[in-house]
Amino acid sequence: MWLYTDTVTEHFQNPRNVGEVENADGVGDVGSLACGDALKLTLKIEDDRIVDAKFKTFGCASAIASSSALTEMIKGMEIAEAEKITNEDIADFLGGLPKEKMHCSVMGREALEAAIADYRGEKLPSAEGEVVCECFGVTDVEISRAIKESSLRSLEEITNFTKAGGGCGKCEDKLEALLRQTISEGLQMVEIDKKPTRMTTLQKIKKIEDVLEREVRPGLRLDGGDIELIDVDGDFVIVSMRGQCTSCAKSETTIKELVEKKLREQVLETLIVEEEK
């Protein structure tokens, strides 16, 4: 069970400002059903001041509490002031959130930003970034910002705050590069702790497909052949040779010398590649 503060529990049980503002001047829609949480924030704005704010949230207790807290914080605020609200401010308002739940406060801040951008008719900077985590649709702009704002120092922290890397894990290398880059930009060299993570089958399949496409297929296709991934079972990678490769006497060698070597180097050193019989 999560240890929530009394304020989180209170806002979860008695959420303020649930609903949608009529004829909203700014709408912020973030998250998705697949991600497990989503927030729609609607604002009524007069003379650059937020006169009303309402929310609809799909998510856990801390997502609902963060949304409720956000609306309470911004009601009556000048836009210029509201813009400065960070996810840490939302978490602080609630007396803190469990670290695994920090992404709930980030979702609040993102919705606010999106609603303000919508009001101004601007495009969101984060939407212009490149999607790094495809599972949860998180862009490099969002991740770099979270790293800077919340002084994140590990992949685990990035996942806690942005969810990036919490799905298939395929983006881990990119996340690590972003982390190094963002930290070095901030001129603070800190040791990054990267734990060796165990891959799920889904992660393995994605990485293996990636390596096959990039490193193996181009060469085979030159010879009129191809390779298809049939199955991944623990450490066993079952492949099938196609085209010219099926009749090639060297296909066994190709599998062991080329495919297995590449996969061991780039995916997992314990992999064993076998041809489908």
């Binding site: 059903l33 497990g36 927030l39 799905g167 450490d235």
Partner: protein
């Protein structure tokens, strides 16, 4: 219903120690504290009591007492069984299990290379939308290289029962060892091991009203066995370490009670479960039953409430002291929902809002009525707040 009364519908997570069990255990903490291995009769009488408990468990499982090894939990039993089979078949490199196993088996099978230093090919059988395995696909997966099959008897999240007796028979016909994690099944459905081809069976005390910290591994007479721990000669050298005497006595008593209450479990408890399930499915729109309705435990139901999130549901239920579980991502601490529901292809719209209710003989109709009274408003309130709720 009294406001502070706990309505406990999370019996697949753990159960209350039965009062009779507690009573049977008590003397073994304070008065009969001797070591069963001692040469004096003060300790010896405890050894006799441990053997009696073994008989009681054997009676519930339909096996000889000598075929039972006491362990610390279901997980230890699972690991011991699977690793024993692998050691006994050093030339075989294939293991069969399912995608919906408890982590005790699933994570072990996924890490056999690390655990044994040997590479294994692991077939994880798919399940259908209602959580069942394709028997033909299972039979096809059995090969000469298969060292062990490990398939749970009843799923902890959905209660779905696999055809374990038939699966064990198919394995036996091919001389393949068969293990079943029966932690959720023991005490809820009749099991008669002497008539079955099961080689290893795991059970756990705290799922059937005995305390936490005691488990059992059944090893069919003559089946390969390799101890998990090395040390003293307890359990005839099969499991070193001083016996968890009081818990073992408790487990013996719990098995006796389970045998006596099996009928009630499959009639009254089942009727309560059905009442709860039908009530929720009819009063709450867009609610879906997860798992096969026929082949399942009498005490479990797993229902998805679309467009709302499980943790939020549980915490609202918690306000009324109603205890259950969820397969949502948020309750697990990971960002992905239950591997069981995902393996069944339950869509995200439903997986995040799944709630498992698991009953026991201690539940009453009044409690079920109370839950049925509270749930529609809880779901309704969260749906009102959900940006995805399309309305009724």
């Amino acid at each position: 219903m009294a406001a502070d009364k706990v309505v406990y519908l999370d019996n697949n997570a753990t159960t209350m120690v039965a009062p009779e069990v507690y009573e049977a255990m008590a003397p073994y903490f304070t008065e009969l504290y001797g070591n069963p291995s001692s040469m004096h009769s003060f300790g010896g009488q405890v050894g006799v009591a441990v053997d009696r408990a073994r008989q009681q468990i054997g009676a519930l499982l339909g096996c000889e007492a000598a075929e039972l090894v006491f362990t610390s939990c279901g997980t230890e039993s699972d690991s011991t069984a699977i690793l024993s089979a692998l050691k006994a078949n050093p030339d075989k490199r294939h293991v069969i299990t399912t995608r919906v196993e408890h982590p005790a088996v699933k994570n072990l099978c996924e890490n056999l290379g690390v655990m044994t230093g040997t590479k294994y090919r692991v077939t994880m059988l798919k399940v259908s939308e209602d959580g069942m395995v394709d028997f033909d696909e299972y039979v096809k997966a059995l090969t000469e290289d298969t060292a062990i099959v490990s398939i749970m008897w009843a799923n902890n999240e959905t209660g779905v029962l696999f055809p374990v007796p038939e699966m064990a028979k198919a394995a036996k016909e091919r001389n393949i060892l068969f293990h079943t994690d029966a932690v959720q099944a023991v005490g809820k459905i009749p099991i008669n091991l002497q008539e079955l081809d099961i080689d290893y069976l795991s059970m756990s005390g705290h799922k059937l009203h005995a305390p936490k910290g005691v488990g059992v591994l059944y090893v069919k007479r003559g089946t390969a066995y390799a101890p998990f721990m090395t040390g003293g000669h307890q359990e005839h050298g099969r499991r070193a370490g001083t016996e968890n005497v009081a818990s073992i006595i408790g487990l013996g008593k719990a098995c006796e009670l389970a045998a006596a209450k099996m009928e009630e479990e499959n009639t009254r408890v089942k009727a309560l479960r059905d009442k709860l399930e039908n009530g929720l499915l009819t009063t709450i729109p867009r609610s879906i039953l997860n798992g096969n309705k026929e082949h399942r435990l009498p005490n479990t139901t797993n229902i998805s409430f679309e467009y709302v999130e499980g943790e939020a549901i549980l915490l609202h239920m918690n306000r009324y002291n109603i205890c259950a579980s969820s397969g949502s991502a948020c309750t697990s601490g990971s960002l992905e929902p239950s591997h069981v529901l995902r393996a069944m292809g339950v869509p995200f719209t439903a997986a995040h809002g799944s709630i498992r209710f698991s009953l026991s003989v201690y539940n009453t109709e009044e409690e079920i009525d109370f839950v049925l009274e509270k749930m529609p408003a809880i779901i309704g309130q969260l749906r009102e707040m959900s940006p995805f709720w399309p309305g009724e």
